[in-house]
Amino acid sequence: MAEPAQKDAVVEEIYKKHEKIYPREVHGFFAHMRLLAMTVLLGLYYGVPWLQWDGRQAVLFDLPHRKFYIFDWVFWPQDFFYLALLLMIAAFALFFFTTLAGRLWCGYACPQTVWTELFMWIEHRIEGDRPQQIKLDKSPWNARKIRIKATKHAIWFLLALWTGFTFVGYFTPIRELWHDVLAFNLSGWETFWILFYGFATWGNAGFMREQVCIYMCPYARFQAAMFDRDTLVISYDAKRGEPRGSRKRGVDPRELGLGDCIDCTLCVQVCPTGIDIRNGLQYQCIGCAACIDVCNEVMEKMGYPKGLIRYTTENQMEGKPTHILRPRIVIYGLLLLLFTSATLYGIATRTPLELDIIRDRNTLYRETDEGLVENVYQLKIVNMDEKPHRYRLSIRGLPGMVLDADPNPVEVPAGSVQEETVRVRVDPVELKRASNEIYFIIEAEDDPKLRREEKARFLGPVL
């Protein structure tokens, strides 16, 4: 079967046996930015569950009680709508920033990147930098190798376990969880999820690493669709760098017919996904900018201007002007703004009260001794507020309707659901149809803004 050579190369790339990548440690501006992002994000992840707010955990996705607490906000399953909006915001933010500045998410904020950085940082402290790591892995097993590897894995293991514990701490109160850990009193599922998440962390950050980005990440596959000629990407300036080649310091490369690239391959050695950025933009590139840092260091040593590898756009590379404001950016930006403000407005103005009405399914209607038609309803009053309220029930829709509800008003404790069976009676002469619309109205006695009106069906005979 005849195939274009390039495609074969890509196929080979996907099918080839994985070889371990030993990224060289790098220092520089972008490394500092990554370190900053890592510190802030990991600090948030490990720290936030310990924050208290109003006598409870500030951020808690309380699965057992089906309530999500985020500082002052409490979300109920009824607020699922906001979760959907939140996902839309996340998606559009991703589109917006990808179009603007490429894979910012991958390089600086993705949990995969952040934990891999952390695990690599530990690996570098214990096993040494790239050459030492390669040497160690090639050397036969001896006491020293076992000691080094065991230390690394012990630290990774503890860190992974702590990560798993923190993860579960977002779903069950972390302080109680910690006491349970100390007392060896964890429930089966809690233990399971701590180990599961810990194992996933250890595997993803310690072993899978760049393979997660290359083989498993859906975003990495489709992000290219959001790129255009004005997107900020990390590029090697081939015009300036080629022809590459080694030379002595202080020699004018133009005399040797060389470009600025000294072919030191450091950009390849620092790459966490093991690619050569000089081959152009590749889908494996997660935009971490490690190659920029290391190349700038080399350029400085050589006395050449920095930026042989740099953040740039395709247009800029070709000497054309770069446009920041372009239709895509404007549309993504506007949608992002729209969804964000809609969500915030919705949350700020939502009524922490819900009324569900279920008609009694056993009988359609019943005639009372007085000759009235009676329907029975099951009301579910959900008080989502953080304090108790007394709610008054009333109805409207048919003339002369009588509501038989006991008790009325209904006392509903803070953050709970109260069910009540109510009967509605009406004189059959008022029924023009077999099915009539009526409305249940519920209003808090202490706050008229806490009010809900819900539609229901009243069934009866047609006279």
């Binding site: 890509v10 196929v11 399953p77 429930s187 999820w193 083989y215 498993m216 859906p218 489709f222």
Partner: protein, 95 residues
């Protein structure tokens, strides 16, 4: 970037794909879909009510969420696995 690898490649779609990658390509997408399915299902339905209907009153919510997740994962993985299986060219099965 995006490759239509396999389909025209000699030896069938999954020829040469390391076993571990084949397993991951079944387990990973089903893990993602199972996560989404769990969130959506248990937002709409309270697992305790489902448990009551099924006559399992002893189940805790955390247990129900976890079990639900793994059941979804199993079904999604079965679907992914079958897709992989049916993608094999028939001539290779005949030998």
């Amino acid at each position: 970037m995006e490759t239509t690898h396999g389909d025209h490649h000699a030896g069938g779609p999954d020829a040469g794909l390391p076993a571990i990658q084949q397993v991951v390509s079944v387990l990973w997408p089903s893990f993602l879909t199972a996560g989404i399915a769990t969130i959506v299902t248990f937002t709409v339905f309270d697992p305790l009510q489902i448990a009551q209907c099924m006559g399992e009153p002893g189940l805790t919510r955390l247990g129900a969420y976890s079990t639900g997740f793994f059941v979804f994962w199993l079904f999604a993985a079965a679907s992914s696995g079958l897709t992989c299986y049916f993608r094999r060219p028939t001539d290779r099965i005949r030998g």
